[in-house]
C-alpha cells in the first residue's frame, strides 16, 4: 500500500472521527426524510418532497464535513508537517510525486471518503431518485443520478485538490501558516458556488410548478409541450419545466452535464497543478509545457460556457489569460535567483536548462501575444464589403484587435510594475505592494477619474476595455474630451504608452542595482 496514504490513514482514521460524522449524517438524513409528511401544492407524490428534504439535509451536512472539514484536513496535513518539521522526511523519501500526492490528498481525508462513498452517496442517490418525479423525467433517471453523483464526487476532489494546490503555493512563497489558512476562504467560496450550481441544476430537473388539471389544458400535454422546456402562464400560475439544454460553444448539452463537465475540468487541472507544484517542492525542475497547455486549454474550454460570441472570443479568453499571467508573475517576480539561473543558462546555450527556468509569465505573455496575432489575422477575414465595393472592417472586428492590443500593453505594464515592486528593496511586503498597485491602477484611479471627468474617462488610465459599449467612440464622449475619435485614441495610447515607458525606465534602474547587490 502507498506508505504516504497509510501514514495519513493511521493519523486520521480514529473511531471517533469516523463515527461522529457518520452518526450526524444518518441522524440528519433520518430527520430530513421523516420531517416531511405532507405533499406540496404542486400535488406531486409524497416521495418527491421527502426526497427533496433528504437531499438538502444530506447536502448541508455533507458540505460541512466534506468541504469545510475536508479542506481543512487536506491542507493542515501540509501545514502541520511543515510546522512540526517532519516535512523533510517526506521530501527525502524516494516516493514518486504521484504517490505522495495521492497519499496526502486521499489519506488525510480518508474518514470523509469512507463516509461519503459508503453512506453519503447511496443516501444522495436515493434522495435524487425520489426527488425526480417519474412523470417528468426527460431522460433515463439513472443517467441524471449518475451525472449528479459524479458531479458531487468531482466537486469534493476539485475542492480538496484546489485547496492543496493553494496551500502548497503559499508554502513555496514562504508565507506563514495563517496566510495559507486564509487562502482557504476563497477556495471555499468558489467551492460553494459550484456546489450551489450543482444543486440548482438538479433542482431544475425536478422543480415543477404543477397543477393536476394541467394535463390537456388548452390542448397542451406534457409530452407535446412541457418537455420541450417551454413556460406557460395559466390562470396566474407559471407552469414550467426548467430542465433545459445549454450551450458549450455550439454544442447542446444539458445544464447539469455542463456544470459536471466544468467541475471535472477544474478537478483535473487542480490535480495537475498540485502535482506540478509538489514536484517543484521536491526540487524537480520541469519544462513549462504543462503551463503552456493550461494557458491554451483553460480559456478555450471555459470561454465555451458563455453564450455570447463576443464573450467567447474576447472577454473570457483575454480576461483569463491576463489574470493567469498576473498570478504567475506575482509568484515569480521575486525569485531573482531563478532569473539569474535562466540568464546564465541562455548565455551558456544550455537550452533545456533555460527552458526549465523560463518564467511562466513569459509563456503566458507569449500565448497572449499569439492570441493577439490570431485576432489580427482572423478578424479582417470577417470583414464585409459595403455597397460601393469598398473593403471595410466591421467595427466589432476592429474592436477585437484593439481590445487584445490593450490587454497586451496592460500586461506588459503590469509585469514591469510587479518586478519593480518585488525588486525594490524598500518594499518589505511585495505581495501586499502588488495588491495595492492593482487596486490603484484598476479601482481607485478609474473611480477618481470617473468622479472628476465623467463616466468613461476612467478608462483612460489604460484600463483594459472589453465591453462593446465602451468602444473608442463612446469612451471619447466623456466630458474630458471632445468627440474627436482620433484625439481620444491618441490620448488613450499616450497614457498607456507613457506608463509603459516610465515603468520600463524604473525597472531598468532597479534591475541594475539588484544585479550589483547580487554580485557583491
Amino acid at each position: 500500500m502507498n506508505p504516504e496514504f497509510r501514514k495519513h490513514a493511521k493519523l486520521e482514521l480514529t473511531p471517533l472521527r469516523l463515527l461522529l460524522p457518520l452518526v450526524v449524517l444518518l441522524l440528519g438524513a433520518w430527520a430530513g426524510w421523516v420531517s416531511v409528511t405532507e405533499i406540496g401544492w404542486e400535488n406531486l407524490p409524497l416521495e418527491h418532497y421527502k426526497g427533496e428534504s433528504l437531499l438538502y439535509w444530506t447536502c448541508s451536512i455533507g458540505f460541512i464535513f466534506t468541504i469545510l472539514w475536508g479542506t481543512y484536513l487536506c491542507t493542515s496535513t501540509i501545514t502541520e508537517e511543515v510546522s512540526q518539521k517532519s516535512w523533510t522526511f517526506m521530501e527525502l523519501s524516494p516516493l514518486s510525486t504521484s504517490k505522495i500526492l495521492f497519499g496526502k490528498l486521499f489519506g488525510s481525508t480518508i474518514t470523509i471518503w469512507i463516509i461519503t462513498l459508503f453512506f453519503g452517496i447511496p443516501i444522495l442517490a436515493f434522495a435524487v431518485s425520489n426527488y425526480i418525479p417519474d412523470i417528468l423525467a426527460p431522460r433515463n433517471e439513472n443517467i441524471t443520478i449518475t451525472m449528479f453523483i459524479a458531479g458531487v464526487l468531482l466537486w469534493i476532489v476539485a475542492t480538496h485538490a484546489f485547496a492543496f494546490f493553494t496551500v502548497l503555493g503559499t508554502l513555496k512563497l514562504k508565507l506563514p501558516k495563517s496566510a495559507a489558512l486564509a487562502m482557504l476562504i476563497p477556495v471555499i467560496i468558489v467551492s460553494m458556488i459550484f456546489g450551489g450550481l450543482l444543486l440548482e441544476n438538479i433542482n431544475d430537473y425536478t422543480t415543477m410548478h404543477h397543477k393536476s388539471n394541467f394535463t390537456n389544458y388548452n390542448g397542451l400535454t406534457w409530452e407535446s409541450e412541457v418537455l420541450k422546456g417551454n413556460n406557460y402562464e395559466v390562470e396566474g400560475d407559471w407552469y414550467r419545466y426548467k430542465m433545459q439544454d445549454d450551450n458549450w460553444y455550439d454544442f447542446r448539452i444539458p445544464q447539469l452535464d455542463k456544470i459536471t463537465l466544468l467541475i471535472a475540468f477544474i478537478a483535473f487541472w487542480s490535480i495537475i497543478g498540485s502535482y506540478r507544484i509538489l514536484r517543484e517542492t521536491l526540487q524537480y525542475k520541469d519544462t513549462p509545457w504543462v503551463w503552456f497547455i493550461f494557458m491554451i486549454t483553460a480559456p478555450l474550454f471555459l470561454s465555451g460556457v458563455s453564450n455570447s460570441k463576443f464573450e467567447q472570443t474576447i472577454e473570457f479568453p483575454l480576461y483569463m489569460m491576463n489574470i493567469l499571467l498576473l498570478l504567475v508573475c506575482a509568484k515569480e517576480a521575486g525569485d531573482i535567483i531563478a532569473y539569474k539561473t535562466w540568464i546564465r543558462s541562455i548565455k551558456e546555450k544550455s537550452w533545456k536548462q533555460a527552458l526549465k527556468y523560463t518564467p511562466l509569465w513569459l509563456i503566458s505573455f507569449m500565448v497572449l501575444a499569439l492570441y493577439f496575432l490570431f485576432l489580427f489575422v482572423y478578424s479582417p477575414l470577417q470583414a464585409s464589403f459595403i455597397k460601393d465595393g469598398q473593403f471595410s472592417l466591421k467595427m466589432i472586428e476592429l474592436y477585437k484587435i484593439n481590445s487584445a492590443l490593450i490587454v497586451l500593453c496592460c500586461a506588459l505594464k503590469d509585469i514591469l510594475a510587479f518586478h519593480i515592486i518585488f525588486w525594490w528593496k524598500k518594499i518589505r511586503r511585495p505581495l501586499i505592494g502588488v495588491v495595492v498597485y492593482l487596486l490603484i491602477a484598476y479601482v481607485i484611479a478609474p473611480v477618481i477619474l470617473h468622479t472628476l471627468w465623467g463616466q468613461n474617462a476612467s478608462f483612460l488610465v489604460a484600463h483594459p476595455i472589453f465591453e462593446i459599449d465602451y468602444s473608442i467612440k463612446n469612451i471619447l464622449n466623456s466630458p474630458l474630451l471632445n468627440n474627436n475619435t482620433g484625439i481620444i485614441n491618441m490620448i488613450y495610447w499616450s497614457i498607456l504608452g507613457s506608463q509603459i515607458l516610465v515603468f520600463g525606465f524604473l525597472f531598468n534602474r532597479i534591475r541594475k542595482s539588484t544585479q550589483e547587490r547580487l554580485e557583491r
Binding site: K7, T88, L92, P94, T341
Partner: protein
C-alpha cells in the same frame, strides 16, 4: 568506480541578498566521518541541504555515490540519509509506525528492515511509544533510525548533538562509529568540537560560504604530534633548570608562570617520547610534582585556522 562518496565541484548557492556558498569544491572519500565546522551563518546547513538534494544550487555539480543529486534528487535519496538540525517526528504516530513509513517509502521489506534498524539503534524499549512522548535524546535516535533505515551509503547529520545531554551525546558517538564500521560515509556538523573529535576522521572548515580547510585524520595527527606539556614543580624553577628545560623543548622556548611553579614546554606527544622527557627531568633533579601533556585538539586546530583566516582578511 570513484572512491569518493561525495564529490562537489564549483558549487555556488545564492540567497537573494548574498552568496551563501561560493565555489565549493570538495571530495569526501568513502568510509570517512567528516566534521563540518564553521561559525554560525557560514553556510553549513545550506551546504548540507544542497548535498541532500533539498535545495537546488545556482551552479555547480554534486555527486553522491556517482548520482547527480541536482538533476536526480529522488534517485539520490536512495543512497543517502539526512537529518536536519530541527527535524520533527510525527508526534501522533508510534516509533514503529514512523519506521514502517520510512521502510515503505524505500520499498523495503517492512518487518525485517524495521526490526533491524530498531536493534541497530537500540530503540526496542520505545518502539511502541508515540513519538511525541519521547525525550530529545530518544527522538534523535529515532530520527537517525529513520535516516538510516535503508542503509544509505552516505549519512548527513546537521547538528545531531544539539540539545542532547552528555550521556546521549556519548551514545550518539557510539552509534556514529558503529555506522562507520558498517561502511557508511558520514558528514556531520556541530558546534561542539570536542565531541566531533571522538569520532570524526576529517574536518572541513567552512567560513563565509567558502571552504577554508579540509584536513584528514593523518594530517591532523601530524599537526597534533607536538603538544604542550605542563610541568608542575614543588619549588620555583631555577635559572639552570630553565636552561635545561629550554633545551628539552621542541621550539627551544618555555613559558613559566608568575610564581615559577609551572613550566610549559613543547614536546612530541608520543608515549615513548613523553616517558624519555619525564626521565630526563627526574635525572636532572627537577622537582616535578605534576606532569600533564595537553594534546592539540580539533578545537585548537580549528581556532588556529580561524585565526589565520582572520589575519589574512586583515
Amino acid at each position: 568506480m570513484s572512491q569518493n562518496a561525495i564529490t562537489v565541484s564549483s558549487l555556488n548557492y545564492y540567497y537573494p541578498d548574498k552568496k551563501a556558498l561560493e565555489n565549493i569544491t570538495i571530495q569526501i572519500p568513502k568510509g570517512e566521518i567528516t566534521a563540518l565546522v564553521g561559525p554560525n551563518g557560514a553556510g553549513k546547513s545550506t551546504l548540507m541541504r544542497c548535498l541532500a538534494g533539498l535545495d537546488s544550487p545556482f551552479s555547480g555539480e554534486i555527486s553522491i555515490c556517482g548520482i547527480d543529486i541536482i538533476n536526480n534528487p529522488r534517485q539520490g535519496h536512495s543512497k543517502l540519509g539526512y537529518l536536519s538540525d530541527d527535524f520533527g517526528l510525527y508526534e501522533e504516530l508510534t516509533v514503529k509506525d514512523v519506521l514502517e513509513y520510512m521502510a515503505g517509502c524505500h520499498e523495503l521489506p517492512i518487518k525485517d528492515s524495521v526490526d533491524t534498524v530498531i536493534k541497530r539503534l537500540k530503540i526496542e524499549s520505545v518502539q511502541d511509544k508515540k513519538c511525541g512522548a519521547l525525550s530529545r535524546g530518544w527522538k534523535q535516535r529515532v530520527g537517525i533510525a529513520m535516516a538510516v533505515i535503508h542503509m544509505p551509503e552516505v549519512l548527513i547529520l546537521d547538528e545531531p548533538a544539539s540539545g542532547l545531554d552528555p550521556e546521549a551525546r556519548s551514545e550518539l558517538s557510539t552509534i556514529l562509529k558503529d555506522l562507520q564500521k558498517e561502511g557508511m560515509t558520514i558528514l556531520v556538523s556541530s558546534h561542539i568540537l570536542s565531541e566531533l573529535e571522538e569520532y570524526s576522521t576529517a574536518m572541513l572548515v567552512l567560513r563565509d560560504g567558502k571552504i577554508k580547510d579540509h584536513i584528514t585524520l593523518e594530517q591532523q595527527k601530524a599537526l597534533t604530534s607536538i603538544s604542550s606539556v605542563h610541568i608542575g614543580l614543588s619549588s620555583p624553577v631555577t635559572p639552570a633548570q630553565k636552561i635545561h628545560l629550554e633545551n628539552l623543548s621542541q621550539d627551544k622556548k618555555i613559558s613559566v608562570t608568575e610564581n615559577r611553579h609551572t613550566v610549559t614546554i613543547q614536546h612530541k606527544n608520543e608515549p615513548e617520547q613523553l616517558n624519555i622527557l619525564l626521565k630526563s627531568l627526574l635525572d636532572e633533579n627537577i622537582p616535578v610534582c605534576s606532569f600533564t601533556p595537553s594534546q592539540s585538539t580539533l578545537q585548537t586546530l580549528y581556532l588556529e585556522i580561524a585565526q589565520t583566516d582572520k589575519n589574512q582578511d586583515k
